[in-house]
C-alpha cells in the first residue's frame, strides 16, 4: 500500500514501473519456491530412471547365460544346477491377481456406487473413513490373517483339491483382494462423486430410477475414473509381496489350482532378497531378472490403462 503511494511520487522517468522493495522480496521467494519444485521433480525422475538402469546390467548378464531356459516350467534358480523356467512365477502371479480382482472389482465398484449415489450424508461420513482405515492396514497383518485364519479355517476345510501344506494361492488372492478393495472403492467413489449433479437430475427428469441413474448415467460419465481405480488396484495386487509370501508360500509350483501353494514374481524377490545372495552370484542376478520382468509388465499395464482412460475420458464442460 505504502509502496504504491511512493511509486506514484517517484520522479525518475520510468522508475515508477520498476519493482518496489516489497515486490523484489516476493520475487525472491517466488524463485526459491520454483527451484524447490524443480528439484523435487528432478529427484523423482532421477530415482525412477536410476532404478530402471540398475535393473538392466545384471538382467542382461544373466539372460546371456540362460536364454534358452526362461520358457521352461521349473523355477529353481537357487538350486544346483539352477533352472530358470519362469512360467510357474507367471501363473502364480496371475492366479493370485485374478482372484484378488474378483474380490476387489465387484465389491469395490458396488461400494463406490453405493457411496456416491445411494448413501445418505451420514452413512457416507461413517463409511468413507472406514474404507481408508482398511486401506491403511499393514499388509503384514493381512498376511498373518491369511496364513493363520483363512488358510487353515477356510481353504483347508472347504477347498476340495490341492496340497494341504498351510499355504494357498486362493488365500493369498483373497487377502490381496481385501487389500485392493478399498483402493477401487475409494478412487472410483471420488470419480463418481465428481460427476455433476446436473447429469443425475437430467436422468431423473426423464423418469429414470435411482439405479438407472447410477448405473447408466453416473457410471458411464465417470468411467475414466473407474478404469483408473481398477488399474491402480491391479498394479497394486501385481506388486504385492508380503501377502503372497506369507499366505501362498515360497514354492514355485506350476499349477492353476488355487488350493496349491504358489510363488509370485514379487514374492520370489522378497524371498530370495532376504536370503544370502552373494553379489554377482546367479541368485543375485536372478532377482534383477525377475524385477525387470515385473517392471515391464507393470509398465505395459500402466500404458494400457492410460490408453483406456484417454479413450473414455469425457469432458463435461
Amino acid at each position: 500500500m505504502s509502496d504504491l503511494s511512493k511509486a506514484g511520487t517517484s520522479t525518475a522517468e520510468g522508475a515508477w514501473l520498476a519493482p518496489s522493495a516489497h515486490l523484489r522480496r516476493r520475487n525472491f521467494f517466488q524463485s526459491i519456491a520454483v527451484n524447490v519444485m524443480r528439484i523435487g521433480t528432478l529427484v523423482t525422475a532421477l530415482i525412477t530412471t536410476g532404478i530402471i538402469f540398475s535393473l538392466i546390467p545384471p538382467t542382461i548378464e544373466l539372460l546371456g547365460e540362460i536364454t534358452t531356459q526362461v520358457f521352461g516350467t521349473t523355477w529353481a534358480p537357487l538350486f544346483l544346477p539352477p533352472e530358470f523356467g519362469i512360467l510357474p512365477l507367471i501363473t502364480g502371479t496371475f492366479v493370485i491377481v485374478i482372484i484378488a480382482m474378483f474380490i476387489a472389482i465387484p465389491f469395490g465398484l458396488a461400494a463406490a456406487l453405493f457411496l456416491s449415489d445411494y448413501a445418505s450424508f451420514n452413512v457416507r461420513r461413517v463409511v468413507k473413513p472406514i474404507l481408508e482405515i482398511l486401506a491403511g492396514i499393514p499388509t503384514v497383518v493381512l498376511g498373518l490373517f491369511g496364513l493363520y485364519v483363512i488358510n487353515p479355517g477356510l481353504v483347508e476345510k472347504y477347498w476340495p483339491i490341492g496340497e494341504s501344506v498351510g499355504y494357498s494361492a486362493i488365500g493369498a488372492g483373497l487377502m490381496t483382494g481385501v487389500l485392493t478393495l478399498p483402493i477401487v472403492a475409494s478412487v472410483a467413489d471420488d470419480a463418481l462423486s465428481a460427476v455433476p449433479r446436473a447429469m443425475r437430475e437430467a436422468g431423473f427428469a426423464l423418469g429414470a430410477t435411482r439405479r438407472e441413474v447410477a448405473t447408466k448415467i453416473v457410471f458411464n460419465a465417470g468411467i475414466s475414473g473407474v478404469v483408473a481405480a481398477v488399474i491402480l488396484a491391479f498394479a497394486r495386487a501385481f506388486g504385492e509381496t508380503t501377502v503372497a509370501l506369507m499366505v501362498a508360500g515360497s514354492y514355485p509350483k506350476l499349477s492353476l489350482n488355487p488350493g496349491d501353494p504358489m510363488q509370485t514374481m514379487a514374492s520370489f524377490i522378497g524371498f530370495a532378497g532376504i536370503g544370502d545372495q552373494p553379489t554377482d552370484s546367479t541368485g543375485y542376478k536372478t532377482i534383477f531378472l525377475v524385477g525387470s520382468i515385473l517392471f515391464l509388465v507393470t509398465l505395459v499395464f500402466n500404458l494400457l490403462g492410460n490408453r483406456i482412460i484417454s479413450r473414455f475420458r469425457e469432458v463435461y464442460e
Partner: protein, 277 residues
C-alpha cells in the same frame, strides 16, 4: 389462443377449466429454512406460463416441486397440496419416477449426457420401455424434429453430444425430454447460459411446442416472459421483521399482457418496469 376461462375463486385465484396443476397453500422448506410459502395458483393446459421475480424468490423452488425434483435434495419438504389434474402429486402412493416421466424438465445449463446425440435421446425411451431399434429411430428423429435440431445433426447422430454448441445442446436437452412423451415441460431459466441468437431459437421453439405441451418456464428475462408466455406469476422475497429470514412469496398471477401493462400490485409494476430487482 387461450381457450381457458379466467374465473376467480373466493381467494381471488385465477381458475382455469381443467388446469394441469393446482397449487393450494404450497410452501417448500429445506430442513428448517422456509424457502417459499403461501403459493396459490393454477397452471393452464397447452400454454406457456412464466415464473418471474428477483433471485431467491422461490420461483425455481416451486418449479422443481412440480415434478418432484426437490425430492432428491435431503431435507426438502413440500407443504400444502399440489394437484396434477385430479391426482395429488405428493400422495404417498404416487411414484416420483412416474411423475417425472410425465412432467419433464430442462435445466439452466445444458446438461447432455456424455454420450452420442442418438443415445441422449434414446436414454429416456429405453428406461421407460423396451422399444425396438426401429421404434427408437423413429422416436429420435421425431424428437429432434420437434426441437428444431434434426436438420443440424441428422448426419452425425453418433457424434458426442458435447461436440454441439451451447444452443444446440439445450435444444438437444429439450428433444431428450420430448422423447419420453411428457405432458408438461418445466424449464428452469433455459436460456440463461445462451447467446441472444440461440435464445431466440429456443423462444421460437417454446411457442411452437405449446401446441402439444404445457410449458412452465422460470426466467430472469422480462422480455422473454413477455414474448413467450400467456400467463405470468410474479414472486418476491419477503424478509421477516427480525431481518434474518427470507421467504419467497407469490405476489400476483395473471395474464402476461395484464401483468406487463396494468398489474394490480405496485411491486409487480416496479419489477416489470425495471425499478426493482
Amino acid at each position: 389462443m387461450t381457450a381457458t376461462s379466467t374465473e376467480r375463486n373466493a381467494q381471488g385465484v385465477m381458475e382455469f377449466i381443467d388446469p394441469v396443476f393446482t397449487l393450494s397453500d404450497v410452501a417448500v422448506s429445506y430442513s428448517d429454512f422456509l424457502a417459499v410459502s403461501n403459493v396459490n395458483l393454477q397452471i393452464p393446459s397447452m400454454d406457456v406460463t412464466a415464473f418471474i421475480g428477483p433471485s431467491g424468490c422461490g420461483k425455481s423452488t416451486i418449479l422443481r416441486s412440480l415434478n418432484r425434483t426437490n425430492d432428491l435434495i435431503p431435507g426438502a419438504k413440500v407443504h400444502g397440496k399440489i394437484s396434477y389434474h385430479e391426482a395429488d402429486l405428493y400422495d404417498p402412493k404416487a411414484s416420483a419416477v412416474e411423475v417425472r416421466r410425465r412432467i419433464g424438465m430442462v435445466f439452466q445449463k445444458p446438461n447432455p449426457f456424455p454420450k452420442s446425440i442418438y443415445e441422449n435421446i434414446a436414454f429416456g425411451p429405453k428406461v421407460n420401455g423396451r422399444p425396438s431399434k426401429s421404434e427408437l429411430d423413429v422416436i429420435v428423429e421425431k424428437s429432434l424434429r420437434s426441437a428444431a435440431l434434426w436438420d443440424e445433426v441428422k448426419d452425425r447422430l453418433n457424434d458426442s453430444a458435447l461436440s454441439l454448441s451451447g444452443g444446440q445442446q439445450q435444444r438437444l436437452c429439450i428433444a431428450r425430454s420430448l422423447a419420453v412423451d411428457p405432458e408438461v415441460i418445466l424449464m428452469d431459466e433455459p436460456c440463461s447460459a445462451l447467446d441472444p441468437i440461440a435464445t431466440a431459437r429456443i423462444e421460437d421453439l417454446m411457442i411452437e411446442l405449446k401446441r402439444d405441451y404445457t410449458i412452465v418456464i422460470v426466467t430472469h428475462n422480462m422480455q422473454q416472459a413477455a414474448r413467450v408466455s400467456s400467463y405470468t406469476a410474479f414472486f418476491v422475497t419477503e424478509v421477516n421483521p427480525l431481518g434474518d429470514r427470507r421467504t419467497g412469496k407469490l405476489v400476483e398471477f395473471d395474464s402476461t399482457s395484464k401483468m406487463f401493462s396494468n398489474p394490480t400490485d405496485p411491486r409487480t409494476e416496479a419489477y416489470v418496469t425495471g425499478k426493482m430487482g
